[in-house]
């Protein structure tokens, strides 16, 4: 059958579109596919001290308004029968993430080891992922900095730094995120990008624990490869019934995921 020029052009256009659309998702994602990083947080051990939040900030140099790890506090009951509950909330590193599905530029993606990462140079800052995340685990970096306090109370330059919106020494120090060591500068990524917890990949890849797990004084945060039998978070899971999960290292404990009904299947589990 003879192909007309118009048919050829239409076919070529459609082919190019499909190739572009499919090509973008098949790029190298990084991480070891044999691994599945996860966290098990023991709520009975959490004392709500926020050390994890502070450790995370110090590690990742997150600016004001951006906190990858937050501790949510809940008060249950009425006086005098009251109980406080603390729920540390990092990114859930979902098996079926809502954020990566909606990102228009594939800037946020799930690595082969299950960690959801962000390519800051691809992110256009549309914040669709923030609206889509059922856990509120994503923040936009509006460009705030810690100028005065971090420059020191006696530093005469502090006021000037605040006025010029230039980050002071502490804030300008490169963040080790994704091993990129980006210096912080106005208008430069990750400013005006969406940011999130990445299980401190730069530490994990060097054999260290994420900052939050490492700093927790109550040893409430357990981290590791859920596929590794030697790991504390080794997970047994029936492939036919992925909802049924057993952590052999935490026998006789009730295991839960936040907002299980969303179907996102978080890799962060809570022991209650």
């Amino acid at each position: 059958m003879e192909t007309t020029r118009r048919e050829f052009l239409v076919g070529a256009g459609a082919g190019a579109t499909i190739a572009t659309m499919s090509g973008c998702s098949s790029s190298a994602k990084g991480g070891d596919p044999a691994k599945r990083y996860g966290m098990v947080i023991d709520l009975e051990k959490c004392i709500g001290c926020n050390t994890c939040s502070v450790a995370c900030k110090a590690e990742n140099h997150t600016p004001p308004g951006v906190s990858y790890m937050v501790v949510m506090e809940e008060e249950i009951g009425e006086y005098p029968y009251v109980k406080r509950r603390f729920v540390p909330r990092p990114c859930m590193q979902c098996e079926q993430p809502s954020c990566t599905m909606v990102c228009p530029t594939s800037a946020t993606y799930t690595r082969d080891d299950g960690v959801t990462a962000i390519d800051y140079d691809k992110c256009i800052g549309c914040r669709y992922c923030i609206t889509a995340c059922p856990y509120g685990a994503r923040s936009f970096d509006f460009g705030h900095d810690y100028p005065t306090a971090c420059a020191g109370p006696t530093d005469p330059a502090a006021g000037e730094v605040l006025a010029s919106r230039q980050p002071a020494a502490y804030a300008a120090a490169p963040s080790p995120e994704y091993g990129e060591n980006r210096p912080r500068a106005p208008g430069q990524s990750p400013v005006n990008n969406v940011r999130k917890c990445h299980f401190c990949l730069h530490r994990v890849e060097r054999g260290m624990l994420p900052a939050c797990a490492s700093a927790c004084p109550g040893r409430a945060i357990h981290f590791g490869d859920m596929n590794d039998r030697e790991s504390i978070v080794y997970r047994l899971r029936d492939p036919e019934h992925p909802d049924e999960v057993v952590f052999p290292n935490f026998p006789n404990r009730h295991v839960m995921q936040l907002k299980k009904e969303t179907g996102n299947d978080p890799a962060v589990y809570y022991l209650t």
Binding site: V70, P104, P134, F142
Partner: protein, 384 residues
């Protein structure tokens, strides 16, 4: 009156230019957006103008593809409305991006599972269709004056444009509908409601434009009558969708859905729903459009159309903002204190001014392209 309008437009242009300059130089740090309400005025105006555009386009295609005679005299106006409004809408979302200069990455690195990614291509196709139609219609008073080949091309553009225009606003609604984290958006009705309100607001804006730019003869009155009836029908359909939605939420009683609706109807901005959207933007115009006695009063008719155009702003703000106010976890708000970790959002001055700048730019674009489209090349040919 005309002079006064130009003075107002000039003021809008100057303050708007300042707002846009501020946006370009300072960035999003000067907005009131937070990590809870992360989409604000700009996103609301983006869907507002896209709706006005898609509605205008549907009406223009009724003329050039479906040959509906009653609307023929406003066909050109409808195409230009569609073009200018899509330009304004896309500029709104462009300045909302954290890194606006990277917008092209949407085309270079698309994500097949992202509706926003697909929509970007739909918007691009839509702009091309509109540019084609504008070019075809320029220099002629009506499509009947076009040579047969050009008329056929116009019909093809208008026909192909229908699914694209539907895709523009249905798809924009679907962007919201697929977000399961926001129960108020996450319903199958959302994309349909976007379409209904697009036709409703687009028709109303076309009535206002026709009242300004069309010749005031008997044909004009008939055309306005036709559009008023169409607008009335879409208002009824839109109200029906809202009622269906409210009914399902009320009977369902699902906690987070009820919370979102409580925010919408009884939250701090209840007046945007009840007064701006429902009373002034829907019920009053519906009463005017559906009563032949009221409709016969021309000024009242145009006022009704203007009310729809303004009332829809409240509707759009109500779609975007209340759905985000309820955070994913209530305890999250108390976890740390910062101006970006709050559910209180009211647009900052820069957001208002830059939006005004885009509107002013849109009006200038409309005036310039309208005069270009209505140039009379035959006259120069005669004189030479």
């Amino acid at each position: 009156m005309k002079r006064l309008a130009y003075i107002a437009l000039s003021i809008l242009t100057v303050v708007g230019a300042y707002g846009l300059w501020q946006r370009a130089t300072v960035g999003l740090i000067d907005t009131a957006l937070t990590n809870i309400v992360t989409w604000g005025l700009w996103v609301a105006l983006y869907i507002y103008f896209l709706g006005l555009s898609a509605g205008g386009f549907v009406l223009s295609s009724m003329v050039y593809a479906l040959k509906i005679k009653q609307l023929e005299r406003v066909g050109k106006l409808a195409v230009l409305q569609a073009f200018v409004c899509v330009a304004m809408g896309l500029t709104m979302i462009w300045i909302d991006l954290g890194h606006p200069l990277r917008f092209f990455k949407v085309f270079l690195s698309p994500n097949p599972t992202s509706l926003l990614s697909w929509e970007s291509f739909v918007y691009l196709a839509y702009v091309f269709v509109l540019l084609g139609e504008l070019w075809l219609l320029s220099g002629v008073a009506s499509a009947e004056e076009l040579p047969p080949r050009r008329a056929r091309t116009l019909k093809a553009f208008a026909t192909v444009g229908i699914p694209i225009a539907v895709g523009v606003h249905w798809g924009t609604g679907a962007l919201f509908a697929v977000v399961k984290a926001r129960p108020e958006w996450h319903t199958g009705i959302t994309p349909i409601a976007f379409l209904a309100s697009a036709v409703m607001s687009g028709t109303a804006l076309l009535m206002v434009l026709a009242a300004i730019f069309d010749r005031k003869d008997e044909g004009h009155r008939q055309c306005m009558e036709f559009m008023a009836k169409l607008a009335a029908a879409t208002i009824v359909f839109d109200l029906l969708l809202l009622f269906s939605e409210a009914l399902v939420v009320w009977y369902g009683g699902v906690e987070h859905e009820v919370a979102a609706f409580r925010q919408l109807y009884f939250g701090p901005y209840w007046y945007a729903t009840w007064i701006v959207h429902l009373l002034l933007g829907s019920l009053v115009p519906l009463a005017i459009f559906s009563s032949s006695r009221l409709r016969s009063n021309y000024h009242l008719l145009v006022t009704g159309a203007g009310l729809v155009v303004l009332g829809i702003v409240g509707y759009r703000l109500n779609i975007v903002i209340p759905a985000q106010v309820d955070p994913p976890f209530h305890e999250f708000l108390g976890a740390f204190h910062h101006i970006r970790n709050t559910k209180d959002y009211f647009p900052a001055l820069m957001e208002w001014l830059s939006s005004a700048g885009i509107v002013a730019g849109g009006i200038w674009m409309f005036l310039i392209v309208w005069s270009w489209m209505n140039r009379a090349p035959s006259k120069t040919a005669v004189s030479s």
